[in-house]
Amino acid sequence: MTDTDRGTQRDRDSAFSLFTQQSLPACKPVLTPEWVIMTFLFIGFIFIPVGLVTLRASHSVVEIVERYDIGCVPEPFRIDKVSYIQDDSIPKNCSLSFKVPKYMKAPIYIYYQLENYYQNHRRYVKSRSDKQLLHGQNEHGISSCQPVEVNNDRPIIPCGLIAWSLFNDTFTFIRNRAELKVNRKNIAWKSDREHKFGKNVYPFNFQNGTLIGGGKLNPTIPLSDQEDLIVWMRTSALPSFRKLYGRIEKDLDVDDVVVVHLMNNYNTYSFGGKKKLVLSTTSWLGGKNDFLGLAYVFIGSSSVTIAVVFTLLHLLSPRH
């Protein structure tokens, strides 16, 4: 063999030439019955236990959900709730009480839950200015805030529909006649507080228009500390959602009676929305949600069923 021969030989085996000749070594998997049945069995045997563990985690969460939007409207106003909520002269005080069904370990998260509320509506989602939230007075970057960008020819901070419609019901919790302390700090994402909402940006000209939306903001507190606003402005993708209100850092015992005094300010009556108060503990998986566990058990057991069916098929009508 001459040198050039060896050269071409080497060339022929080089990776590029394997590529050009479409002869790269390839593994060609075949859907053999054994392989497929094993795969389904494997999925089944992984998914069912994981599903059970997930279900257990979900069941370990204690959750109290109290709807209050109707109960908090006094009987005489029930016919026309909208005018009730829009009438500022009527006091909006209301109280709820419930019994704790199970021992709840701190921290207990307090959420308000809105239903049939479209925070994901296109007009709504777009109506904000991230630039303004971070850098403050900026007359140019607020055109996205329509239709709530200026009032009396002066820009609104924070502008936009989302901020304007800030949720403004408030809750105080009393257990055994003593007030339960609710920690309302650090309810928003740290990253939002630090990088999305400015430390030197103060609310300005907010809720000063003829049309009052939701809550007002204390103009002396910078946006980065207005945690209710920050939480509210993380819009939800679903029409039913919960937002964090605060944390109770004490355990609640079984049969503890908790009384909630609340200000029922927020108007969900005009569009038939629901308002609920949620107290919930958490697990490693988050809040109470059976879906993942049930889906896992379902997928796992279907996989096992498919594996069994395929095994039977394979045994009854062998291909060879």
């Binding site: 022929r12 030439s17 050009t20 000749q21 479409q22 790269l24 070594p25 390839a26 593994c27 060609k28 075949v30 859907l31 019955p33 389904f40 999925i43 959420y111 839950q113 509320y117 479209y118 925070q119 994901n120 509506h121 296109r122 007009r123 989602v125 991230d130 239709p147 709530v148 529909l161 304007w164 419609s165 994402w189 990253s191 990088h195 999305k196 049309l211 939306g213 939701g214 819009t235 993708a237 679903l238 029409p239 039913s240 959602f241 937002k243 964090l244 005009s270 569009f271 998986l285 988050g286 809040g287 949600n289 879906f291 993942l292 889906a295 896992y296 997928i299 098929l313 009508s317 060879h320």
Partner: protein, 935 residues
């Protein structure tokens, strides 16, 4: 013209030339020189006096000329033109599917737009937080539909065009690179000039092939001859070694000498003397080359050509001839002649050679031409090419008179070719026929095997040749083109008049209809004359015949007839491939869906005009079965996958609009959407260009498998419906799981959208993996590397505080519920797909699956015998070929999928015969494609 060098620059004159045109075979102009040279004498200028743009000068040091056309007005510039873009059947199908998706998109947009407006009026106006103005201008009504149009615009994947162009150019590169398609004799690799039509190669139904130089080597060797009724070379098969002939030459038999003189002189060959004194010949035509060389071996050496003076050496003596005129060969006249003057005796002689029907009818009255006819027939049956040689002595005045006419005809600017032919006719008559030469043209290596394999693959072959009928039939027999009796049957269409042709055609058609149900290999043979009449007057009948017949031999056809035949088959919606090597095939090659040129001895004309050029005919097998088939399969997957992935994301957006108040909110941010289409999903699928469903060897052994490509089984509305369904299913899986797993307190928009997007990406990776037949390292890299890249890219985005998804991906990756959701999406999305695929693969296998199993389990295809026919209900129009099954009593040897034994297959089929299968295929596929066109 005999002008001295020094005077050249003083020449003044006028060239009368036609307007620039693109016909590179004609240049009908005149040159008038001014005094003091030749006063007003018209010199005809033809294409022979012309050097075309970008030509090379060979065998001469210099040439002196005038630029007649320049720039884009040169003949080459004019003929460059814009070649008609060829659209593959597949591209047409993709366009159709795109159209269907577009209609679907419009419907979705309209429905959602109306629903959105209704919802706005009934619900959204009550939602104070959205602040819809009570009364808006009328065009407010359009806002929501337009929003949805924007959302749904991703339904038609734009990336598909880019991806397809990329992979198509790679298919072409694979052809260029293929080491097994390099002609090692000449070192010429195959080349794909047209990079866009590789898929069509896999869908070819008809191959129109030239004979000379395509099936044969075009290396002509003089084998036999018949001079004045005496046959030479019949015993040994080589006339040059026939002692009878050698003796006759040595003895100086006048007939033989005259015969050799015609062989040596009647041509356009240029002898070139090398320094050592050896003479080599430069010939345009291989036949002439063979004849001159043979004459030289028989001691009639064409030694020199000096201007118009030829020098012939014969047995030591030198004979000089002055060439007076050359009557060029044209494919219409089928003969060429020279008029020469013997310099010693001053006698003027017309020497002619040509096809038998162009010479023998013009023999002088009284000459017996029967032996020559017999000789021609005998030679043709041996597959030899025949030429008749003849001569006639001319009287001086006859020549002078004719010469004037010829000159005039040569200098006409209108219809010059026709005028010359007419004038030539006046001289070429009353021949004294000298004899017949027989030249052998050997078959190329591997031609019979190639044709057999491709015929098994269901491709119909038509041979279009300028040669004689008998020669063509002989070649056809020797290269498996047609089967010999009794298996095959040749039906002849002939006749000189319309009636005769009509009757003949009807007879053949009748036979064809009857025998089409029999296991007989029926082919029809038609000659150029009958074809002309048939195409002109009985086009419909001939078309029916063309559809019925798998094989045809058309002999004595002109280049334009070749193109007409291709056109005819194309008009019946067949995918045609034309293969040829010479200039006479160029039109057919350009006309066909795919033109393949053989870069052979007749120059590169055909190869240049063709979409693919290959060195040898046998590479056609690889070109079609390997490159064409893989290209088809890969594009089928790639295009449908592209639609699938766009549809998945689009369906999710549509579902999301139902829970976002039908307002047209996009769940995904614009960066993710863009990256999804151009990056995350198009990279993994690009490596599908390396996917091989079956190994090359398996395909070569089972060429029938090409049927799946021909009939378009891998890309048609029903397969597309499967992908559509899959995208809908996957969108539902991703959407439902995401909104339930990330409900309530986790329902933050950015997080939820990223969960849905990663769900899609995970599914994509597994879909590509499941649809990949062979994993090379590149596939693994692309599929799993892409998944990793998705996370890396999103981590980078999540690290930028200014981006909308700041910290989102880190947040998600820390949650166990995210990973649990992902594996749930993958299991729920892929489980049913895998189960369905396995079920089909095992219990309703296609032939491809069967071969895959056999190939990968090792061992011969023993299992084929037990496979039950399983018509797939969803593909009604192509059901019957699937019912081809192996009879159970097959002996377990490695055999093609289809039975060759008519009896056994007839039992299982009812009407089956091996090639009935193919016929039904092509019928079906054509009816199929026609159906599509109707849609």
């Amino acid at each position: 013209m005999g002008i001295d060098f020094e005077l050249l620059h003083k020449i003044k004159g006028v060239i009368e030339c036609p307007n620039p045109d693109k016909d590179i075979t004609r240049f009908d102009a005149n040159l008038r020189l001014f005094p003091p040279f030749i006063d007003n004498d018209v010199c005809p200028l033809t294409i022979k006096n012309t050097i075309l743009q970008s030509c090379y000068l060979r065998n001469t040091e210099w040439a002196c000329g005038v630029a007649v056309y320049t720039g884009n007005e040169t003949k080459l510039g004019m003929s460059r033109g814009i070649p008609e873009p060829k659209l593959t059947a597949m591209d047409a199908m993709i366009d159709k599917l795109t159209g269907a998706i577009f209609v679907f998109q419009i419907v979705v947009v309209m429905v959602l737009g109306i629903a959105g407006n209704v919802w706005k009026d009934t619900e959204a106006r009550k939602q104070w937080y959205v602040q819809y103005p009570i009364e808006g201008p009328w065009y407010e009504l359009l806002v929501i539909p337009l929003r949805f149009e924007l959302l749904c615009s991703i339904m038609i994947p734009i990336s598909i065009k880019v991806s397809l162009d990329l992979v198509k150019s790679l298919y072409a590169k694979f052809i260029d690179w293929d080491a097994e398609m390099i002609d090692y004799e000449t070192g010429i690799p195959s080349h794909a000039t047209n990079t866009a039509i590789s898929e069509d190669l896999g869908q070819v139904e008809y191959i129109m092939t030239d004979k000379t130089g395509t099936l044969t080597e075009n290396r002509m060797i003089f084998r036999r001859c018949c001079i004045s009724g005496v046959f030479y070379g019949n015993e040994s098969g080589d006339a040059l070694k026939d002692t009878k002939l050698l003796n006759a030459v040595a003895g100086g038999s006048p007939d033989v000498v005259q015969f050799l003189t015609v062989m040596a002189i009647c041509n356009t060959v240029v002898p070139i003397k090398s320094k050592t004194g050896a003479i080599s010949y430069k010939a345009q035509s291989q036949d002439e080359d063979a004849l001159v060389n043979a004459a030289a071996q028989l001691h009639m050496v064409y030694a020199n050509k000096n201007a118009n003076i030829l020098e012939i050496r014969f047995n030591g003596s030198v004979i000089k001839y002055e060439v007076l005129e050359i009557l060029e060969f044209t494919s219409d006249r089928k003969r060429m002649s020279v008029v020469v003057k013997d310099c010693q005796t001053g006698k003027i002689v017309l020497l002619s050679k040509g096809a038998d029907e162009a010479i023998l009818p013009y023999a002088f009255v009284g000459q017996q031409t029967r032996t020559f006819i017999e000789a021609v027939e005998q030679y043709a049956q041996l597959g030899l090419r025949t030429l008749c040689l003849a001569f006639r002595e001319l009287r001086e005045d006859e020549y002078q008179e004719w010469s004037l006419m010829f000159k005039e005809a040569s200098s006409t600017l209108v219809d010059r070719e026709w005028r010359i032919a007419e004038v030539c006719q006046r001289l070429e008559h009353d021949f004294e026929v000298l004899g017949v030469t027989a030249i052998e043209d050997r078959l190329q290596d591997g031609v019979p095997e190639t044709i057999e394999t491709l015929r098994k693959a269901g491709i119909n072959f038509w041979m279009l040749t300028g040669d004689k009928q008998n020669t063509a039939i002989q070649i056809a027999l020797s290269c498996n083109f047609i089967s010999p009796e009794p298996k095959g049957q040749l039906l002849l269409i002939d006749g000189k008049t319309e009636d005769e042709v009509c009757r003949s055609l009807e007879r053949v058609l009748l036979t064809m209809r009857i025998t089409s149900s029999e296991p007989k290999d029926v082919a029809f043979v038609v000659d150029g004359w009958a074809l002309e009449i048939a195409l002109k007057h009985y086009r419909k009948a001939f078309t029916e015949l063309a559809i019925l017949s798998r094989t045809a031999i058309c002999c004595r056809v002109t280049p334009s007839q070749k193109a007409q035949l291709v056109e005819l088959l194309k008009s019946c919606d067949y995918r045609t491939l034309a293969i040829g090597d010479g200039g006479n095939d160029v039109r057919m090659i350009q006309q066909a869906d795919i033109g393949v040129g053989i870069s052979g001895r007749e120059g590169l004309q055909a190869a240049r005009a063709a979409d693919y050029s290959i060195g040898k005919f046998r590479f056609l097998k690889r070109l079609i079965l390997v490159h064409g088939r893989y290209s088809y399969n890969r594009t089928a997957f790639l295009s449908q996958y592209s639609f699938y992935k766009s549809l998945v994301i689009c369906f999710i957006q549509i579902f999301f609009s139902f829970i976002s108040g039908v307002s047209g909110t996009s769940l995904f941010n614009s960066v993710s959407l863009m990256a999804y289409n151009v990056f995350y999903t198009s990279v993994p699928v690009l490596v599908s260009v390396l996917d091989k469903d079956l190994s090359e060897g398996t395909v070569m052994q089972h060429p029938q498998i090409l049927f799946y490509c021909q009939a378009g089984r891998l890309l048609n509305p029903s397969t597309f419906a499967g992908w559509f369904g899959r995208s809908l299913f996957h969108a539902i899986v991703v959407f439902v799981i995401t909104i339930h797993a990330y409900a309530y307190e986790k329902s933050e928009m950015e997080e939820l959208s990223m969960v849905a997007l990663s769900g899609c990406i995970w599914l994509q990776a597994f879909v590509v993996a499941l649809e990949t037949n062979s994993f090379t390292i590149l596939q693994h890299l692309a599929i799993w590397g892409n998944l990793v890249a998705f996370y890396v890219i999103n981590w980078i985005f999540s690290a930028i505080p200014a981006s909308g998804m700041y910290t989102i991906m880190f947040r998600l990756c820390r949650q166990p519920s995210y990973w649990i959701t992902m594996s749930l999406i993958v299991a729920a999305g892929m489980g049913p797909v895998l189960a369905l695929k396995y079920f089909r693969y095992t219990y309703r296998p296609s032939k491809i699956n069967t071969l895959q199993q056999a190939e990968r389990m090792g061992g011969p295809i023993l299992t084929l015998g037990n496979i039950e026919p399983h018509p797939r209900p969803m593909e009604k129009e192509v059901v019957s070929p699937l019912q081809i099954s192996q009879p159970k009593n097959r002996n377990p040897v490695y055999e093609p999928l289809l039975s060759d034994s008519p009896n056994s297959s007839r039992r299982s089929l009812g009407s089956g015969a091996p090639f009935d299968f193919f016929q039904s295929q092509s019928r079906l596929s054509s009816s199929y494609s026609r159906n599509c066109k109707d849609n």
